[in-house]
């Protein structure tokens, strides 16, 4: 049975990354990337077998298997004893789906990278990092122990650091990598505190046991809320939710296939997945749920609006990812567990497609700036065609994948709150607008920069075939998975959170529900309208109309281009920390060291000087004084008085003395 071997799924790429990193020399035609691709294919095979077994009922979900990792002395129940930390795998519907998605996207990205990274000086190292990145994400997906989840979580962070900063010889990538790492780390503080709370109150990190403990109601509501908020902080960092999304646009400095991986399957999916994996904590705390929903809503809207203005093709896609993640988060927050995960899955396919497509374009024209593109549809037909599919999916036009999953989310949100629903529908319309703005700017009309566009050539098959596969998936995955509630029943089956989540959703459904047909028709019409708007503004040879519109709403554009000032805020925070650090250094050297420590030293030396002076002035003088007294005063004086050389006198003194002693005795 394949599910017994599911632990191999993260370990194969891990082993591959070590082999690639340490094996062989860096050469242009290094065979090492194929080690990574082979490992990934094997992992994909296992994952698909697991999904197949689970879907046919051959394997029962959830499947758990664990081993002893290490033990440490702990105080459980107030009594010191030895606690055994066990680690292993826990596969439920959501985990199985994620395994398939991550493996598939990573495999396609690696194949695509063979073409994209060809000729790079660090060709081999790139593949080592990609394998490591995927391994960390897969470890996060399968693990049944929250500590291991956190560990993989951080390793995902490190691998993204290495990959975003891959071209470290340049100025910008290292900065972007550092920004990504520190920003996500900021969110991780919340995750970390949640972990401390979890162990203190629940005494375990095993997800199954934790779920039981929480559902039995052993944890106080306040603690549950804090745990939920802490986990949300972590998720907000990794999944780029407001206000921690500042790192994602900069992360575009990495090679484009890496962006595809980050935005589709690894890294940003991790946050959503964490919330889904720990859903029982959120379900137990209405405050945490509501916060998740609002965080998602705000993020979806803010990022959706920010995607309207940039001319960098990758930044548009980056903001759109943030916005779509907001949709998923919002869905989870309103109890739409399957809806959120469904969108995560479909989004992985079409966002990977869009990024790889964008990479194909950038590879051809050597720029990210859409103002220098235009008219590429003729020169790159396959890229154009597949990207159009991706755009349709992202914009939520039926029958493409995004339509089905977005529809489910909107349905759930409407049941929860019409206000949130309205905001999300508006954001969905914005999505259609900026997606097609990008498509029109890139491919429509005539080339604006002839030097670049006229030399553009369609990428090779190694790059276009992955695009076609992803386009096919973007076309059918929504419909196929929606059909007969296949996805819902699979993810719900034995899910760590499934049933309870649906129950919560249904409880809310009693309030209000929307006719699915009306919703679908309305949203599609709205999206089409905004696509038409984008066409009228951007499809032409130049976009003077857009420029006029821009000057009309200049302050709004400025605000959007400044990303609502979040970047400035965090940079200010860093600056503040630096000032405090400099102050601390000053205090340390000038006050603590110079005043207290050296001050003590000085005090001791002053005391020594004083005692030396005292010694010289008083003690020594007193000694000398005694000498003087005994020699000069007593000696000479007495001598002159009594020592006059009269022996009789001396005898007299002697006699007096002796008789005195005799009397005294």
């Amino acid at each position: 049975m394949m599910i017994e071997n599911v632990w191999l799924v993260p370990l194969l790429p891990l082993a591959a990354s070590l082999v690639i990193l340490f094996g062989g020399r860096e050469r242009e035609d290094s065979p090492m990337p194929f080690v990574g691709i082979a490992a990934m294919a094997a992992s994909l095979y296992i994952s698909l077998a697991v999904i197949f077994d689970a879907a046919t009922g051959a394997a029962a979900l959830p499947f758990e298997k664990e081993w002893l990792w290490y033990s440490f002395a702990a105080n459980l129940g107030g009594q010191p004893s030895i606690f055994e930390m066990r680690a292993g795998v826990l596969i439920d519907g959501a985990a199985a789906v994620m395994l398939g998605v991550v493996c598939l996207v990573s495999l396609l990205v690696q194949i695509y990278s063979l073409g994209y990274m060809h000729g790079d000086r660090k060709f081999k190292r790139y593949f080592a990092y990609i394998s490591f990145f995927t391994a960390s994400m897969l470890g996060l997906v399968v693990s049944n122990n929250l500590i291991v989840v956190f560990a993989c979580w951080e390793l995902v962070g490190v691998s993204s650091y290495l990959l975003i900063g891959f071209w470290f010889e340049k100025e910008a990538p290292p900065y972007a990598a550092k920004k990504a790492f520190i920003t996500t780390k900021l969110g991780d503080l919340g995750f970390f505190l949640a972990l401390l709370l979890i162990f203190t109150y629940a005494g375990s990190y095993n997800l199954v046991r934790l779920k039981e403990t929480v559902e039995m109601g052993y944890l106080p509501p306040m603690v549950l809320t804090l745990i939920g908020l802490g986990l949300l902080c972590g998720a907000a960092g990794k999944s780029a939710q407001a206000p921690l999304f500042i790192w994602l646009p900069d992360a575009m400095e990495g090679p484009t296939p890496v962006s595809a991986l980050i935005h589709a399957a690894t890294m940003v999916a991790a946050g959503i997945y964490l919330v889904a994996r720990c859903y029982f904590f959120f379900l137990a705390s209405p405050i945490a749920m509501e916060t998740v929903a609002w965080a998602g809503l705000i993020t979806a809207f803010l990022a959706g609006s920010m995607a309207l203005v940039p001319y960098d093709i990758k930044r548009v896609l980056a903001f759109s990812t943030v916005s779509q993640l907001g949709f998923m988060m919002c869905a989870l927050g309103v109890g739409g567990y399957t809806a959120g995960l469904f969108h995560l899955t479909t989004h992985a396919f079409f966002k990977a497609l869009l990024f790889l497509g964008a990479g194909s374009v950038i590879h051809a024209v050597h720029t990210n700036d859409m103002r220098s593109m235009g008219g590429l549809s003729k020169r790159m037909p396959w890229t154009f065609l597949t990207m159009t599919v991706g755009c349709l999916a992202l914009a939520g036009i039926p029958p493409f994948a995004g339509f089905f999953s977005k529809d489910q989310i909107l349905e759930k949100v409407f049941e929860h709150s019409p206000v949130m629903f309205a905001v999300l529908v508006f954001t969905a319309c914005l999505t259609a607008f900026y997606t097609f703005r990008m498509l029109f700017l890139t491919f429509w009309g005539d080339g604006r920069d002839h030097h670049r566009v006229d030399h553009a050539e369609e990428s090779g098959a190694v790059m276009t075939v992955p695009l076609m596969i992803l386009a096919a998936l973007s076309l059918v995955s929504g419909w196929a998975l929606e059909h007969g509630h296949a996805f819902a029943s699979f993810v719900g089956s034995g899910g760590a959170a499934g049933h309870a989540a649906e129950a919560a959703g249904h409880a809310a459904a009693a309030g209000h529900a929307i006719n699915p047909m009306v919703l679908a028709a309305g949203v599609t019409a709205g999206a089409c309208f905004f696509i038409a708007l984008a066409y009228s503004l951007y499809a032409g040879r130049d976009f003077s109309r857009a420029q006029r519109l821009k000057s009309l709403f200049q302050p709004v554009f400025d605000l959007l281009e400044k990303r609502y000032g979040f970047d400035a805020f965090f940079l200010g925070l860093v600056d503040l920390a630096d000032r405090i650090a400099v102050l601390c250094r000053w205090v340390d050297i000038e006050v603590i060291d110079k005043v207290f420590v050296d001050g003590w030293g000085l005090l001791c030396r002053v005391a020594a000087e004083i005692s030396h002076l005292f010694d010289a002035l008083f003690v020594d003088q007193a000694v000398d004084g005694c000498g003087y007294v005994s020699r000069d005063i007593a000696g000479r004086g007495l001598r002159s008085l009594i020592a006059r050389g009269q022996v009789q006198e001396y005898m007299l003194y002697l006699a007096v003395g002796v008789s005195l002693f005799a009397i005294l005795k």
């Binding site: 009594q79 010889e169 520190i182 630096d578």
Partner: protein
């Protein structure tokens, strides 16, 4: 008579020191061989200790006890033994000494004296962790002082005399107070004894006032070594001035003597004083963590930055101890080992770059990763280990430290977690400024690490990954002892 394993571990370096002393100054090869052999044999024996150590008992093992000074008035024993707290530290000491000695092979001047003092230092450090007699403990404690003074004062940097005397006087001041504490306990015990295990049992007879006073006397001595705020300012200075290998020893082993002392003496012998001091201790721990990290962030000198990061990391140990739980004690004990390995590696690596570039100014570099990939890789690995990246040793121990302190000090622990992100910030900034970006032309022909440097750093790099993935190797040794420590006053 049993095989005197601990005595051999401790005094083989002394034999090596005497051998070095007898060798002529010019025969450098022979001096190298003698010193390395002594240190290596001592390490090999401590590896034996690792395997022979009984992990199922919290009692002292490999005990050796002989009367030493047997006058009517005073009775002092030669009394050695290790448990799950001290045995790992003994192994750490022999390992780091050997590695530091390998790293010292590049020393040019007065090599013979250097080896002599270095080996004497090793004897002292080992003795501190093994002694079970307070008199003996004090003797070893003071033995570490003199070699350190000479090692910094002769082979150090530009401000070496100032740094050496500051280190010496500061630590001496601390140990004078410690001596007071030792004598106070000695006279309180009935019958008078220096036996540390016996002294752990008399706390029931000690008044609160006595315990507080004795606690403060010991704490002063140990806190300077840790170093705990505000007694920490000798450390950055001593680190910057000391030669590379001595910085390694200082960070990896000497600081641990302070934490070890607090656990072994202050906690075990003076529980009332300890309980009374806890609110202050936790505050000091938080200051060490956050303030130490902030100070590190403001440094331009790589070595100073690592030195301040030590203050931050020892703060985790103090925080864990303040948690007074088995988890916390495990965390502190494991953190000591990991900090020794990781910070030791960091100092070695800073030494590598200083030997080549003759500067440690973070701003003076740039883009080195393209030029010296092996060095950049090892340095980044060590930095990530130091900032507590999971998969590396530091993560497990830091996590245990926080976990141990959290139930008792929720707010303080939450504030301390800030230290983690500040640490990440300054290490990443250092990596960015030194290794990434366009290559600074000044270093266009910087050579990568040589064999000697690799031999000293790579084992540590392997250890920090191995202990991070499989912490069982270290934790199993400590567990029983930590459970018994935590249950001491329950």
């Amino acid at each position: 008579m049993e095989f005197p394993l601990l005595s051999l571990i401790t005094f083989i370096p002394l034999a090596g020191a005497l051998a070095v002393l007898c060798l002529p100054k010019d025969s450098r090869r022979a001096i190298e061989a003698a010193a390395l052999a002594a240190s290596a044999v001592s390490f090999a024996l401590s590896v034996w200790l690792y395997f022979a150590f009984d992990r199922s008992t919290a009692a002292m093992q490999f005990v050796e006890r002989h009367a030493w000074i047997a006058a009517d008035a005073v009775k002092v024993d030669y009394y050695l033994g290790v448990d799950g707290l001290s045995a790992p530290l003994v192994i750490l000491t022999t390992l780091m000494s050997l590695i530091a000695l390998i790293a010292s092979l590049g020393i040019k001047e007065r090599f013979k004296e250097y080896c002599f003092w270095f080996l004497i230092l090793e004897v002292g450090m080992l003795g501190v962790f093994e002694s079970l007699d307070f008199f003996l403990f004090y003797v070893f404690w003071e033995i570490t002082l003199v070699p350190m003074y000479f090692l910094i004062g002769i082979w150090g940097g530009p401000q070496k005399e100032y740094a050496a005397i500051k280190f010496f006087l500061y630590t001496l001041a601390g140990s004078v107070f410690m001596l007071l504490g030792i004598l106070a306990l000695y006279f309180k015990a009935d019958p008078h004894t220096f036996d540390m295990l016996a002294l752990m049992k008399i706390h029931g007879t000690l008044s609160f006032r006595f315990q507080v006073l004795a606690f403060l006397a010991f704490y002063f001595g140990f806190a300077i070594k840790v170093p705990a705020f505000p007694f920490h300012t000798w450390l950055p200075l001593a680190h910057v001035e000391a030669p590379t290998a001595i910085s390694v020893i200082l960070a990896a082993v000497l600081l641990k003597m302070g934490v070890y002392g607090i656990l072994r003496v202050n906690y075990c012998m003076l529980p009332l004083g300890f309980e009374w001091f806890l609110p202050i201790l936790v505050l000091i721990a938080v200051i060490n963590i956050v303030y130490g990290a902030l100070c590190a962030m403001a440094q331009n000198d790589m070595k100073k930055m690592v030195a301040y990061s030590s203050i931050n990391h020892m703060g985790y140990c103090l925080l864990a101890i303040a948690g007074v739980s088995a988890t916390g004690f495990s965390g502190a004990a494991f953190q000591m080992i990991n900090h020794g390995i990781i910070t030791g590696a960091l100092f070695l690596l800073v030494g590598v770059v200083y030997d080549r570039a003759h500067t440690r100014d973070i701003g003076a570099f740039g883009g080195l990763a393209a030029k010296v990939p092996v060095f950049a890789g090892l340095m980044s690995l060590s930095c990530f280990a130091s900032l507590g990246l999971p998969g590396m040793a530091g993560f497990i121990s830091e996590f245990l430290c926080f976990l141990g302190a959290f139930p008792r000090w929720k707010i303080y622990t939450a504030v301390s977690v800030l230290g983690v992100i500040i640490t990440a910030a300054f290490f990443l900034r250092m990596i960015e400024k030194v290794f990434l970006g366009p290559l600074n032309k000044r270093w266009a022909d910087l050579p990568d690490m040589n064999t000697r440097e690799l031999v000293s750093v790579v084992p540590l790099a392997i250890l920090m990954v191995a202990l991070g993935i499989w912490p069982k190797w270290a934790l199993d040794m400590m567990n029983t002892t930590m459970v018994s420590l935590a249950g001491l006053f329950k």
